[in-house]
Each structure stands twice: as C-alpha cells, then as structure tokens.
C-alpha cells in the first residue's frame, strides 16, 4: 500500500507553491523563512553590538570628553524614533486589515507605513549632517566608528524594508492580496517590526545608556 | 549468522583477531623505537616545560589507549563481519542499546574531566607570574626582528640586546636556575614568542602586555635554545628568529656587566681618514643585493647602505672575522634612508658582512680583503 503523495494534491500554481500552505497548518513557508532570516539578522547586529560594548569597556571616558553632549536623546532623534515606532503600528493595522479582506484600510495603512519609513530615513540623514558638523564622524575614534556603523547598518536595513514596503504597496494596489493570500504582507511586516525593535535597542543603548 | 556447533573459531575470527593484534604490535613497536621519540616534544628545558611535558605524557597515554581500543574494534569488525555468500538472511537488526549508550557517554565524560583537572593544575603552575622575578626582560617584537630590553627591578631599562640570534653574537641571555620574567611588547602587528624547548609560546599583541615566567633547568647551562615568531606577521615572518642563551650565573653576571658598560660607554671614535673605496649595498625585503664584496687591505673603506625597506625595518652592515667574532658593530639604518659606514683598515683575509638585525638567511655575504 503506498501513501498518496499529498505533494500533488492541492495545486493552484505549481506543485511546490501549493505546499506553502501545508495541510498541517501552522505558519506558511514564506513567513517561516522570514522569521529565520530575521534571526540571522539579529545575529549580525549582535556581532556589531559585541564590538560596541567591547570598545566602550576599553575606552574611558565614554563618551569621550569632546563628544560628551553630542548624542542627546531628546531632540530630533526622538522625533525619528516616535515616527518609526508609529510606523510599526500602522504596519500591523495594515496586516490586520488584509486578514479581514479590508483592502482599502490595508492600502491606506501600508502606504502610511512606507511614508513614515522614508521620513525616518530623511531625518536620520539630516541628523548625520548635524553630527558631522560637531565633529562626530566615522573616523572619530572607536566612539564615532561604532556609532556610524551601528546606525548606518540599521539605516540600510530600514532602506531595504522601504523597498519591500514599496513592493507590497504596488502589488496591493494591483489587487494581488486578499484574506487568503497575503503571505508577503505578513512577512514584510515581521521584518518591519524587527527593524523597529533594533532601533529601539540602538536608541536606548547609544543615546541613553 | 552461523548455526554450526562451535568447535574452533571460524577463519574470519582468526583473521580479525590477528589483525587487531597486529595493530597493537605495530603501534607499540613504533612507540618503543627511535621513530617513536618524534611523537614527543623535545627535551624540556625549563620548570614549566617539565610540567607541560608531564601533562603531554598523560594525554598521550589516554590517546594511545583510546586509539587502540576504537581502531581495534573497527579493524575487527571490518574483517570479522564481511558478507559471505552464505549470508542470505539479514543479520540481527539491532537498533540500539541504552545501557551501552549510557556507558560510552559516562566513561568518556569521566576521562575528559580527569584530563581537564590535570590541565587546570598544570596551567596554574605554568601561568603563574611572580611579582619578584630575578631577571626582567622586555621582548620587543617588530616586523621582522626581536630586540630584548633588560630591565632592573623597577622597570628601568639597563641595556638593549639588539641581536636576537647566537650565531651573530647575540641572543636573549639568561642565567640558569633563576626566575626569568619576560614582558612582551609589539611595535606593530601581532607576533608570538615561541621557544620549542620551552614547550611554550605566548602572543605579542599590540595594545596588550603579556607576561610569563620561566626558570631554565640548572643542567642546561651553556645551551642555546632556538625560537622564532609563531604568529604570521607579514612577508618576513620566516626570518624572525631568536635564541635563548642559557648561562651559569657567573657568566651571566659578567655578560650583563659588559652589556651595561657598552651601553654607557662613550662611543668609540669613528675611524677617520678618507675611505679608499666606497662600496654600494642595497637592502630590500630583508635581503642584500650583493653577496660578495671586496675591499683593499690595510686601508679604511666605506660601505653605503641604501635601506629600501619601510621605516620600521632597520638594517646594518656589521663585519665579522672568519671565526665569527664581531670586528665592526655598526648602528642601524632606518628604512627609507641611506647611511655610509666607515670601517677602519683590516688585514687581508676573508670576512663576513652581515645584517645583525636579520642575519638569516639572506642578509649576509663574503667580504674579501686583499
């Protein structure tokens, strides 16, 4: 007696895509893949943070005297933080909307998320110019190097997220998502929340600690 | 599996047994022979080395035992359990055995814990650093030479031994039977201070000061222990040699006095007079461009050294006589500069010109004076 190969049973596009919705239930393949990818990105930032804490422990005073008041937590960077955190909320509302097939709210919220992400990047870029003006650059000792490496790679990840959000907005406006088909939206939202959490940690460590 | 009555062991069993015995015999024979000596480190020259050697011997004993056991089982199985034409039925399909699993987990765990305890005890002896050593030396590693600064008890420099190997009249001299403390300092990249007869090495890391103690065994007086840098440091890594020269206390004291005197002495008057001839020599990537030079006898002569290496690499051109004695000891030339060395008149004969900073392998040659 041979078992029927379920692999060929439910087919909509190709035999492999059908497996994305495993009959066993649970999360879909793209969402699981994104969670694993996020895990690997967490480890990447872990390496950078290890370097940061090591540099901090080996170099006193920290911040160096010439940069004692350069990284002020209350200011432009706080505005940027609030914007990024808000964008996580709008992102999640978008996911909830498409899950109940409310396409209009989905498009609206995901577009707002995209815009907020872009605004964050612009604010960060402007903040960099302010810091440069105060002498904090990549070459300014371990303090400068670690600051720009950590925030720079975070910004790169935000940029990647913005690209992904743009794709979601585009495909959403083309009507490609529904309550039954929205793996990409879920995956991108998970990535966006990850980017947000990394920023909260960065902001707390670099500015407050 | 065979169901015939057991009268004598089958051929397979005999062969398998013979192979296992053969394995044991070969291993034991190698260990007991001359060749077997090469499986051990060289004779330990210091107190720490003796402790490390004892630890090595313990690990070695376990290693041989485990190898014979496991390899013996493999050899046995491979010969005893070959499939024969009579094997048509499947063998017994054993999936596992919990007691065996526990046994071969617990026993190795006990063995490694034993080895760890031995290691930990030895480590505490080897890594102990005394606040009051008898001799303090700062070994300075740079691309690509060693220099040794001898310090007094408060850390002040008494003199510098710039020549790192014995063949060129240098080396890190130490008295036997006394506690020596070496402090490691790097001028540039990571190096490593390694002396095989000490069974020991320690990295020289810029930005860090590593220290270690050792006492050379009393019966090693008069011996020279070769060493070299053991952490890749660039294109001259292979020539970063050093020697540790063990002396009796008396010889060492005399040597120290002499070195201090030299360090404090007013420099000998430079040979004066016009050089009869000025020879040209170029040093690049720790090599001279010429290995044969000629100079006239009984007249002063000069050698202009063009050091084409980077500033951190220094060279000089010393002259040794045929017996290896240093005839002229010249100051170093910094990389990127030229210096003209004026030598006094030499009687006719064959001499060696050599860079005392990089004596091996290529910074030397023959100076024929006639």
């Amino acid at each position: 007696m041979t078992a029927d190969s379920h692999a060929l049973a439910t087919v909509e596009h190709s035999p492999v895509a059908g497996l994305a919705h495993d009959q066993r239930g649970g999360i879909s393949n793209p969402v699981l893949g994104m969670l694993l990818f996020i895990t690997s990105e967490v480890m990447f930032f872990a390496g950078l943070f290890a370097a940061y804490f090591n540099a901090r422990a080996s170099n006193a005073p920290w911040p160096p005297t010439e940069f004692e008041h350069t990284l002020e937590p209350i200011g432009l960077i706080l505005v940027a933080t609030i914007i990024l955190v808000s964008s996580s909320f709008t992102c999640q509302w978008a996911v909830n909307a498409i899950k109940r097939n409310d396409r209009k709210m989905f498009i609206r919220n995901i577009s707002v998320t995209l815009v907020l992400g872009v605004v964050f990047l612009l604010l960060q870029g402007y903040d960099y110019t302010v810091l440069y003006g105060e002498g904090l650059t990549m070459t300014a000792g371990p303090f400068g190097t670690t600051y720009f490496t950590l925030t720079g790679f975070h910004g790169a990840h935000v940029f990647g997220g913005v690209i992904m959000l743009a794709v979601v907005v585009y495909r959403g406006m083309a009507g490609q998502f529904s309550d039954r088909h929205h793996d990409l939206v879920e995956a991108v939202s998970l990535y966006w929340h990850f980017v947000d959490v990394v920023w909260i940690v960065l902001y707390s460590v670099l500015y407050w600690l | 599996m065979s169901t015939s009555p057991r009268q004598r062991p089958s051929l397979d069993v005999v062969l398998a047994g013979a192979a296992v015995v053969g394995l044991v015999v070969i291993v034991v024979a190698v260990l007991l022979s001359q060749a077997g000596k090469t499986l051990y480190p060289p004779a330990a020259a210091t107190d720490s080395a003796i402790e490390i050697r004892k630890l090595y011997d313990i690990v070695f004993a376990f290693a041989v035992a485990i190898f014979l056991l496991v390899e013996g089982l493999i050899v046995w199985s491979v010969i005893r359990y070959r499939r024969k034409p009579t094997d048509t039925e499947l063998p017994v399909q054993t999936h596992g055995h919990n007691l065996l699993e526990v046994t071969w987990t617990v026993i190795p765990t006990i063995i490694v814990i034993i080895l760890f305890v031995f290691s930990f005890n030895t480590l505490n002896v080897v890594d102990a650093v005394s606040p009051t050593p008898d001799v303090k030396i700062r070994a300075v590693a740079a691309q690509f030479q060693w220099t040794f600064e001898y310090l007094d008890s408060s850390g002040q420099k008494l003199f510098t031994q710039t020549v790192s190997t014995k063949d060129n009249g240098g080396g890190m001299a130490v008295p036997v039977g006394r506690k020596i403390q070496v402090e490691l300092h790097s001028n540039d990249v990571i190096h490593a201070f390694y002396v095989p007869r000490f069974l020991f090495k320690r990295d020289v890391v810029p930005g860090m000061t590593n220290r270690f103690d050792f006492t050379v065994n009393a019966d090693e007086a008069g011996q020279t222990f070769r060493g070299q840098c053991a952490e890749l440091c660039g294109t001259g890594h292979r020539i970063m040699l050093l020697d540790v020269v063990a002396m009796t206390q008396a010889d060492y004291d005399a040597w120290v006095e002499q070195m201090i005197a030299q360090a404090n002495a007013t420099p000998a008057p430079q040979p004066s007079g016009e050089p009869s001839v000025t020879l040209e020599l170029t040093a690049k990537i720790a090599e001279f461009d010429k290995h044969e030079l000629e100079a006239p006898a009984d007249k002063p002569f000069a050698i202009t050294l063009d050091n084409q290496d980077v500033p951190a690499i220094e060279h000089d051109v010393d002259i040794h006589d045929a017996d290896g004695n240093v005839v002229f000891d010249e100051p170093h030339t910094v990389g990127g500069t030229s210096q003209t060395y004026l030598y006094g008149p030499l009687p006719a004969g064959t001499y060696t010109f050599i860079c005392s900073v990089h004596p091996f392998p290529a910074m030397t040659g023959t100076l024929t004076v006639k």
Binding site: V16 | L100, G207
Partner: protein
C-alpha cells in the same frame, strides 16, 4: 512487495542544454552544480597546496622567491577550501539528497536556491581576482588585524578587500541556503515522516543549517568592521587608534568555530547513511545520534576561544572544559558507528570503504585535538604544524572522505550510472596512503617546533625529512584524482545502468528512478520508520519494531 519501477515520461538523463542548466531551479540539478563548482575550487586550491608543499620540500627558497606570493598561496588555499569547496560541497550534496529523503518535490524556495548557488562562482572570481590586481589576500584565511589593517608592511592592496567582499557574498549564500533547508525540513516532509523518522543526513543538515543561520552573520559583521577599518578610517581593531586587536579574534572565531561543525556534520550524516546500507543493519542508536548532533551544535557555540589560548586574553578554564566536553558527543557517534558495523554483513563497495577510512582518520583527528584542549600543551602546539595535522585529519580525513563516500553513493542516483568499483578502490588507496604520508609527519614537525605559515626553514632545525615526506604524500593525493576523474567521465558515458536502487538502500531516494523525475516521486512508500525503503523491501516484521 517490490518497489515500483518507475517509467516517467521524462527519460533518464538530463534534458536540455546549457540554458536549462543555467536557469534551473530543480534542487537535484542545483545540487549537481554545487558539486561541480566545489570540485573545481578543490582543484584550484589543491594546486596551491602543491605549490606550498613543493616549496617546503627542502630548506631554502627555491620556487617562490617572493615570500609574499607564498603567503598568498596558503591564504587562498585555505579560503577556497573552506568557503568554496567543503561548505558548498556538503550543501550541494544536502541539496540533492534532503528533499528526496523527506519525500518532498523540491526545496521550499527553489529560486532562492538557485541564487544561493550562483553567488558562489561570482565570489570565487572576486577572491581570485586579487592575484591579478596586485596580490591576493596574504594574511592567512584568519586575516587578523593589525596585519590586515591598511598600513605599510601590512595588507595594503585590494586583494584583502576583494577577499572580504567575496567571503561576505559566500556567507550570504550560505545563510539563504540554511533558511531554505530549515523551511524545507520543517514544513515539507511527506506524511508519516515524523522528525524522528528522518534520515540522519537530514538531521545533520538541519543542525548545520541552524549553525549557519546563527553563526555566519557574525563573521559578516567581523569582516564588515574590518572593511570599515581598512577603507573608511574606522577604529575597531587597530590599537594605534583606540581599537582592540583581540576583539576581531573573538568575533571571528565565534563564527569560525561553529563553522568547523558546518564542515563536518553533513559528512557525518553521509557516513550515517552509508554504514547501515552496506552493513545490512540499522544505524545503531538513532536517537543518540540525533541528540549527539544537537549537542555538538549547541556546545560548538561555547568553545571559540580555544583558538586564542595563547593571546593572554581568554578565560582559559571555561573554554578548556567545554572543549574537552565536546569530545563526548563526538565519541558517542564514533561508538555508534562502530556498533553499526558490528555484527553486520559488510559489502565493501567504494562508499563503504571511504566511510571506513573516515572513521579511522576522524578518530585520529579527534584524538590529536584533545592535546590542544589541554591548555598548557596548546602553549607548545598552537600555531605549529601540529594544528595543520589536526585540521587536515578532521577536514580532509574526515569531511573529504565523507564527501567521496557520498559521491560514490549518490552518483548512481544523480546520473543513472554506476561508477566503476575498481577505479574507486584505486582512488581510495592512493588518497588514503598519500593523505597519511602528507599529514602524519606534521605531528612530528609541530612537536619539533615548526611554526605554521613560514615560507622556509633553517636546515639546522632538523625538519627536512618530514617535510620531504609530506611533499611526496601531497603529490600522491594529487595523483589520486586521476582515477577518480577518469572514473566519472567514463561512467557517465558507459557506466552500468544503476536502476532505482543499486545498493539496497534504506531511505526514500531509492524509491524513485535514477535520476528521479523533476517532481521526484510518482508514488511514495508508506513511511513507518527511518528506513521506509528497507521496510518496503523486507516487510515490517524483519525490520524490527518501530
């Protein structure tokens, strides 16, 4: 009841020319591409090793009068072997085998699978480009700063930067591959294949993928920080500007130690497939294998500083203890493999012969590693040829012999043809003898005091004879490839047709044609144990309870 002999509409043999191969997303073809690409880099890196050995055969600089070239050769030898041979080779064999062994039609993300592969030849070109742009990376595959900082007498030049970019690219390819494997294994197993019925090969690919996913990003961070130091005026690792040289070593080895398990666990998986099939017995202690593999993976994250024992910057007792402990699960595996052979009926086909070679070589490699775990002994042995002996016994004697066991084992499934047994045995003998002649003397050389990474040595040091022996052995290893390559070419054309199941295998790949159709299976046998095809062939009673 016999296995159905399948007659799929697509005939055996790969249809489609170059375009099909270049654009394929079929895991079987991608796996074969990985294998071919990996062998190509094995060859290139092997030639570099032979150049090194030719230089070291005798004292004096004979062939490579430029020590800088020597440093490039051993740096690129190691880099290519690690990142473009062994890791992708095992990923490729896993790519071919895993979906088949779990009864899936392909990997979870076939296009990302193809992307992962094609990043590799590109990265290889970048790495090798250093040779023509003024010098490849020459600071060892470990690339320690400050030697790799951008300053005179250190590694100025684009070779080191190309190296960084190439390795980061390969790391990205690995991470994507790992995600692919994990989603495939967790989500696409055929009905009845519970986790504890998966072949051990799949388990080792699972744990390896977890290691890759968690560890590889860390070396990416280390190399990016090094790049920033070299090119953007960064201050991470150069003490002259407030950085910390040992920090790099910690971040680097945090990846590079788990990486050695990435380089060996799948090979152990292959051994765990081959030994049962050719002993006609199940793998002894299946569950123990699973736990030992997971244990090695977990412990493997805690031992990285044993590569740094001589820096003076490590908490020695902790790392020594865990390093000793990691030999316990490894030993458990060794004993279980031997117990699989014990009481079996061994057929000495080439896959089994390589597997047995693996057992002996890996045993030696594991034992000589224990010496280094004893920290004071490591003070004598670190950075000497002892370590070169150890790493080659585990990575060559272990992983490479495991790779060949897998290649001989799965070649019939990949191509539909059997490799010639006679040539396989000649290959093994030449490689086995050559390997031991090359690397066993390195134990003696390390003990006698010969450091690593030196282009030349003094004749007075007494190392001449062992170096000459090692060089002769090295060329023997090179020669052993001739019968292997000849075998492959001849068998592809005229080899005996393999049929579905030439070895009387245990696992699902033997339940379909050789090569399998694009969608892998027309029918899947019932899966009630870790040996579904064995059960099909012998009926469940003979298989024992499960």
């Amino acid at each position: 009841m016999a296995t159905h002999a399948l007659t799929p509409a697509v005939t055996a043999g790969y249809r489609g020319g170059l375009y099909e191969w270049l654009t394929t997303t079929d895991h079987k073809r991608i796996g074969i591409l990985y294998v071919i690409n990996s062998f190509a880099f094995f060859f290139i890196a092997g030639l570099m090793a032979l150049a090194v050995r030719a230089e070291l055969a005798q004292p004096g600089l004979q062939l490579l009068t430029d020590e800088h070239l020597y440093n490039q050769l051993f740096t690129m030898h190691a880099t290519l072997m690690i990142f473009l041979f062994i890791i992708p080779m095992l990923a490729g064999l896993g790519n071919f085998a895993v979906p088949l062994q779990i009864g899936a039609p392909d990997m979870a993300f076939p296009r990302i699978n193809a992307l992962s592969f094609w990043m590799l030849p590109l990265a290889g070109v970048l790495l090798l480009a250093g040779f023509v742009t003024g010098g490849a990376a020459a600071a060892g595959w470990t690339s320690y700063p400050p030697l790799t900082e951008d300053r005179p007498l250190a590694s100025t030049g684009s070779g080191q930067d190309l190296w960084i970019v190439g390795v980061v690219l390969i790391g990205t390819s690995s991470i994507l591959g790992a995600i692919n494997f994990l989603v495939t294994i967790f989500k696409m197993r055929a009905p009845g294949m519970t986790l504890f019925r998966m072949p051990i090969m799949v388990w080792t690919m699972l744990v390896t993928s977890v290691l890759v996913m968690l560890a590889t990003p860390v070396i990416t961070s280390a190399l990016i920080m090094l790049f920033i130091d070299r090119n953007l005026g960064g201050n991470f690792f150069d003490p002259a500007t407030g950085g910390n040289a040992v920090l790099y070593q910690n971040v680097f080895w945090f990846y590079s130690h788990p990486a050695v398990y990435v380089m060996v666990l799948p090979a152990m998986g292959i051994i765990s497939e081959v030994l049962p099939v050719f002993s006609r017995k199940p793998l002894f202690g299946y569950k123990a294998f699973v736990f030992a593999t997971a244990g090695i993976g977990a412990l493997g994250f805690s031992v990285w500083a044993h590569h740094m024992f001589t820096t003076g910057a490590v908490f020695l007792p902790f790392f020594a203890l865990i390093t000793f402990m990691i030999s316990v699960p490894t030993g458990v595996k060794m004993f279980n493999w031997v117990a699989t052979l014990w009481g079996g009926q061994l057929t000495f086909s080439t896959p089994l012969i390589f597997a047995i070679g693996f057992l002996t070589m890996f045993l030696i490699g594991g034992i000589n590693g224990a010496f280094s775990a004893a920290v004071p002994v490591d003070f004598a042995l670190h950075d000497t040829y002892w370590v070169v002996a150890h790493l080659h016994y585990v990575l060559f004697g272990g992983s490479v012999f495991g790779v060949f066991a897998g290649v001989y084992y799965w070649f019939p499934k990949m191509t539909g043809r059997l490799l010639d047994e006679g040539l396989g045995k000649i290959h093994f003998v030449l490689m086995f003898v050559g390997f031991n002649l090359t690397f066993f003397p390195m134990h003696m050389l390390g003990l006698a005091g010969m450091p690593r990474r030196i282009a030349d040595y003094a004749s007075s040091a007494g190392w001449n004879d062992w170096n000459l022996a090692a060089t002769i052995g090295g060329f023997m290893i090179g020669a052993s490839f001739v019968p292997f390559l000849w075998n492959v070419f001849v068998s592809l054309r005229n080899g005996k047709v393999a049929g579905d199941d030439p070895w009387e295998g245990n696992t699902l790949e033997w339940a379909t044609s050789s090569p399998p159709p694009p969608y892998n299976f027309d029918h899947l046998p019932e899966i009630r144990s870790e040996r579904p095809v064995f059960d099909l062939r012998h009926g469940r009673e003979a298989g024992g309870s499960h």
